[in-house]
Amino acid sequence: MTWLMGGAVAVCLLMVAGLLALILYIGSSTFWPLPLVEFTVTTADGTTRYLGEVVETVPLADASTVEEATSAPMPGSLGWLLWLVAATITAAVAAFWCWIDPRLIGRVLAGVACLAALGLSVWSGTRLIDSLASTEAVRYKVRTGNFRLTNTHFTWIAGPQIVEQSEPQWAVILEPLEYGRFYGYPTRFLVDGQVVAEQPEQVWAAFQQHHADVRRRWRQAQELINHGIGAFNAIQEQARLATREAEIERDEILAQLEVAQATLQTASDAADASGSKLGTAQATELAAQVNALQTELAQAEAVLNIAQRHEAATFEQVSAQTAELLQQVQQLRDENARYQLVMKTAAGQEVTMAVDEIVRGYPANQLSWAGKLGVYLSRWGEFLTDDPREANSEGGVLPAIVGTVVMTMIMAVAVVPLGVLAALYLREYAKGGLIVSLVRIAINNLAGVPSIVFGVFGLGFFCYIVGGFIDGGPRKLQIPPWPKLTWWLVLTALAVIGTVAFLASIASTHGRNRANRPYLRVATGMLWIVCTVLLFALVFKTPYFDGLYRANLPNPTFGKGALVWASLTLALLTLPVVIVSTEEALATVPNSMREGSYACGASKWQTIHRIVLPRAMPGVMTGMILAMARGAGEVAPLMLVGAVKLVQELPVSFSPPFIHGSQSFMHLGFHIYDVGFQSQNSEAARPLVFTTTLLLIAIIALLNLVSIWLRARLRRKFVSSAF
């Protein structure tokens, strides 16, 4: 039995470790520069040359060649087999060591060693498969790039067709801003259209000499455009919204005035017809009203006028500033346009490229280890700190990192207080009974609801209803508001019922004979339900609220997928986790501590917040860790409530309100889905899926480590054992 259980644990560990090792291996090797290979291939009409990186080697599906290949294995196979066996044994030993070592540091080291050995064994395994297949019997998947010329990123080359295979010294990889990688040979370097270098080494030296400066100017121009123009747009948008707001005000007063004038007309007509004194008095009153409205209208017109003039002035000012800025940008670009690089592809075509648009370039076959490491680190740096390019398949993922972290933080801030309060009520205040059991079952079931359902709920409730209400008030939701009198009457009713409900609550929980009046509890519950309904009705039928962003309508501000709504949806999704773990933590607080506190004369709340909660804090933190891990990795609901493929601006900034809750955001999980399966260039971007996964796992691990560290601190403080 022990063996069975141990075996089960071992199988689980192996699967998890295998998955992690795979992600670690592929994810971390994505950015490692491969050598460039030039193939000369026979085709029907002569020979063709291809230059590219070999990304995959598979055996040919031809039985005869495969047989031939396996009968004569390559001499390197045995070496790779030994490597594989050695690495696997090392991994097993390291795993065992990790299991038995009593010291934490020993365990960590052994765990790292185990993962490393697993990675090594995966690598040597792939090399073994590579070497088992002879040159004759394989197909190479070569990343040949040059999409702008060939319309394809990859070429399959069959082994038997290869006439010649070499790694030319001056084969160069360029990573331009667009169209994916470019492979070729440098032939000329142009400055102002004049050839300054023609030999590959000279051309490359010239390129390297100018590249850094050119890129610096390019970044400068980009910065000017992104921030300068963005700021100008924001100013102009503000002015436009002010005008629109004034216009709405004016239109409303105008509408009121028209109604008043019509009433006055009918009233005065009637008065004329009957000639009664009463009618005249009414008409006079109405006329006064119309006059007042006309004065208001004049004021509103004046405000609108000012706003319009301000908008025009802003427009002029912004236009001038934009023109100036664009001129600066143009200067930088003109300077950059002087430098051009002429490349020749393997097929012999010449392509002139602006140095400006080349992100990175290196002669792959000349790189030393240090050089390769430099390229590798530079690619990681770009990945972690840059915006995405090329439909997310190139460039960095900074917006996605920031989006994920900010969303998870807001979610934790929302879910922890709510979950802890709910758990406190269930465990400390509610008396056990049918209803409490039902609530517990409901909470546990909530954890099993498919996450997409939460997404649909979030979209329907948060985005459309709450967001729409914030944007445009009840009118936006097509709810006719109550007249003011009705609204105030209902408010009074709410106040009265609320007071009665409050008194009834006190009577049903504090009275000496409370056990004799079970109907009181039911009645109290009913009253509270009525109160809640009235409160909602009051909020959603208010005539006093027209939305905070009505000037921007019909463009929604909060009434669409947004960072806050995504966070709140995920908070709802992870609520059961927090409630359950907090409840468990509360249950482990010994009753003797509560009694001790009561005996000192503490009230229930004092006991809870001074004794029970601090003691249960580690458990609460555990719940938070679990919730964060679950929330950060969730994708399906986010697709509905605010995660998007690409955003220009980060959801956090250094200008108030610092966190822009109404913005859409990028999310690493969604990014994985998008890059791997939605991108036009998904084949080339697939290794990025692993890299992004690795990054997401690392971020979740980091968030968890911080929480675990906090929890350990709390534990040391509150739950050190005495005996």
Binding site: A599, C600, G601, I611, F718, A722
Partner: protein
């Protein structure tokens, strides 16, 4: 409401003639209303029958087993003292089960009063009723009353929290709070919202000195209280209980979780606290009761059997059952 002493005197329970079995003790008028759930049938025996029943131990125990009412033997000395706490015809039910039967006893001020008796006799229940800890249990119902320095404990409208602040309680198992030693001691001041640093320091030192713990912990007042040894933790709990200057100190088997040395220290401490504080202590250790207490009450199956000066109870008890119990022949 007539006071307990006057009632007792009016019924002339105690005579100077020496030990005798008291007459049936009439319930005070205030607690005459019986609880809804019927308890065991009230005793309908004549004083003579009662006296006859008390004549031999076996009969008295059999009467209890039959559920009949048995009158306690109260030594007159206990009424000679000024009482800090008067327990007045107190009864308690856990659901349908009656756990305390018509208990009436005064607890003298400035003395140590011990409650002894076999397990399950209700002594801890009685103690927990003094500061209304049993309110926390849903199924508990009570009848009768207790008075702390004349103020009713169970009258309607009594603020339980204010009431508990007038008493200190120490539990069977040390239960220091998960905070520093200092914060533990001044907990009851903290919950009153007292922030005056000097006052807190002063109370902390006074209480820790009072609990004979000051010298051991004065250099690590801000370390976790959970790092103390079991005996130190229990003395810390005593310090916490006396920090608010309680009118009565309730000790619920304070030494049962401690080793002999720690027990000795706590017992010495109780001796020192005597006089300054009125102490009601539950113990199942008869030697302990005889060593530290001035008065001893013997309880059996929810009934008060005998209550008097410790020396009398242990050497010359009125009831043969008490004698049997303290000499270890039953219980």
């Amino acid at each position: 409401m007539p006071s307990l002493q006057s009632l007792v005197r009016a019924n002339s329970l105690m005579t100077e003639a020496g030990p005798m079995i008291p007459e049936p003790f009439p319930a005070p008028a205030s607690t005459a209303a019986p609880p809804k759930v019927p308890g065991p049938a009230p005793a309908a025996k004549s004083p003579a029958a009662s006296a006859a029943a008390g004549g031999r131990g076996a009969n008295r125990l059999q009467a209890i087993a039959r559920g009949e009412k048995v009158e306690p033997a109260l030594h007159r000395q206990v009424f000679g003292e000024k009482a800090v706490l008067e327990i007045d015809n107190f009864q308690l039910w856990y659901g349908q089960k009656k756990a305390l039967h018509e208990i009436t006893m005064p607890v003298p001020v400035g003395k140590v009063t011990a409650l002894i008796g076999p397990s399950g006799c209700g002594k801890t229940t009685l103690l927990r009723c003094v500061n209304r800890m049993n309110d926390l249990i849903d199924s508990v119902r009570i009848a009768g009353d207790m008075r702390l320095n004349g103020d009713s404990i169970y009258a309607p409208g009594v603020d339980v929290i204010e009431l508990r602040k007038r008493m200190g309680m120490v539990f069977q198992k040390p239960n220091p709070f998960p905070m520093s030693i200092f914060e533990n001691v001044v907990y009851s001041l903290r919950i009153d919202g007292i922030r005056d640093r000097n006052l807190l320091n002063e109370v902390c030192e006074r209480s820790l000195r009072g609990a004979a713990l000051w010298d051991e912990v004065k250099d690590r007042l801000h370390d976790s209280a959970l790092a103390l040894s079991g005996g130190q933790q229990q003395r810390l709990c005593i310090a916490r209980a006396i920090a608010a200057e309680p009118e009565v100190l309730l000790l619920d088997e304070p030494c049962s979780a401690l080793d002999p040395i720690a027990t000795g220290k706590v017992e010495d401490l109780i001796q020192e606290l005597k006089g300054e504080y009125s102490i009601l202590i539950v113990t199942h250790n008869m030697q302990q009761a005889s060593r530290i207490s001035d008065y001893t009450a013997f309880m059996y199956l929810g009934r008060l059997m005998e209550y008097g000066p410790t020396a009398k109870i242990f050497t010359n008890p009125l009831l043969p059952e008490t004698n049997d119990y303290v000499t270890g022949r039953f219980g």
